[in-house]
């Protein structure tokens, strides 16, 4: 099937999409946007998190056809003109990255959290990121980064 969708403000059209494939597959394998990671393909890890029409979702659980005609924002689309977003800056500054595999998903989830709740409590941060697993288990620095991005510092 043919699919048209807008990713990070850019309109894309792709042919020969298999009806059962995921939005994550389309992003990575067809559009060459490798920021969204494929780690579990079952919604457990959040490393494929993107915004679909402004809503935080696991792109591995969205059928390609369900994204037809929709707006997608991936980690690549967060900064402006090649500059990192405040959340991305905060992750770097806090050293909230080890192997980095979970980072894109965490960054997108954090963007989504701070858009809805600019000053989250620690409990709210933990709840908002509960769907994002870090196999390097560097969660403390991630919390630091989110607090910093929210302008709370430590």
């Amino acid at each position: 099937m043919q699919i048209r969708l807008n990713v990070n403000g850019v309109p894309y059209e792709t042919d020969d999409v298999w009806e059962g494939e995921s939005l994550l597959y389309v992003l990575r394998e067809r559009l060459g946007l490798w920021g969204s990671k494929n780690a579990c393909e079952q919604g457990e890890c959040g490393s494929c998190s993107v915004l679909l029409d402004g809503e935080l979702v696991c792109s591995c659980l969205v059928a390609a056809g369900q994204a037809h005609g929709r707006q997608v924002v991936t980690v690549e689309g967060l900064g402006d003109d090649g500059r990192m977003s405040a959340v991305q800056e905060a992750f770097v500054a806090a050293g909230a990255v080890q192997c980095g595999f979970c980072t894109p998903g965490l960054v997108v989830a954090t963007e989504d959290l701070l858009r809805h709740n600019p000053a989250p409590s620690d409990l709210e941060i933990r709840e908002a990121l509960a769907g994002n697993l870090c196999r390097c288990t560097g969660y403390e620095k991630v919390l630091d980064a989110v607090r910093a991005a929210a302008g709370m510092g430590r």
Binding site: G20, G43, L56, C58, A63, G65, H68, E127, A130, G131
Partner: protein, 288 residues
Amino acid sequence: MDFHYPRSWADALALKAEHPEAVPIAGGTDVMVELNFNRRRPAALLDISAVPELAQWDRADGHLRVGAGVSYTRLVRELGPQLPGLAMAARTVGSPQIRNRGTVGGNLGSASPAGDAHPPLLAGRASVELASVRGTRLVPLDEFFTGPKRSVLAADELISAFVVRPAPGPEQFCKVGTRNAMVIAVASFAVSLDPERGRVGTGIGSAAPTPRRAGGAEEFLEAELAAAGMWQRPRPLPGPVLDRFAELVTASASPIDDVRGTAAYRRHALAVMARRALSWAWADLMRN
């Protein structure tokens, strides 16, 4: 594989009638896992996520009719005060990502004994609205499930909505799992109190081939409360009443041993949850 994407409810029903083998996909949080892991290769998908009618809810004749496509996130945000038990359960589903996509219609469609929406809907005596080009029928939820992952849904039917009264009184939901987030229930329990009518509703999850009510416990508690005039003048529930209630809840279950827990553990957990959920709901009632 074919991909059908109706943009209206009438089209969705017509497509389902024409292609009964097509697998509906709403939030995709169950369907996509099966596709990604090659556990299922349906001839066709029927994407109902863009059918506007399914995403609506309204209130009429003292009942809420909630479209099958309303996500858990919206349930919590828009219906929390009216359906507190269901909202509590919805908050425990997966993660924000899963709650943004997952729907009660999908939970019912999967008909897993562990589905978190089921116990509070059973406790609230909800019905499921099933529709096809042949017409619409309303099935009481405790007649909807027929076995693990099986229901009375016919091949040409879709779930259009669930229908339930706004909570008539306090409601509680408890779920046992290995951690707080992202966990399938090892066992779960919901209770709903209706002081005006003197009714008690219950729902058991993950402890029988289907989600089910604990009818014996409901009848026992209704009789006890009526005899003691407790609905009119609520006093703390006597320990033996709580014990008996928990015992009867457990007696209604028929759990099995599986990877998530043993039958014995599930019985124990159910008794603890039944006691706790009832105590908390009753405390709510006494406060008001």
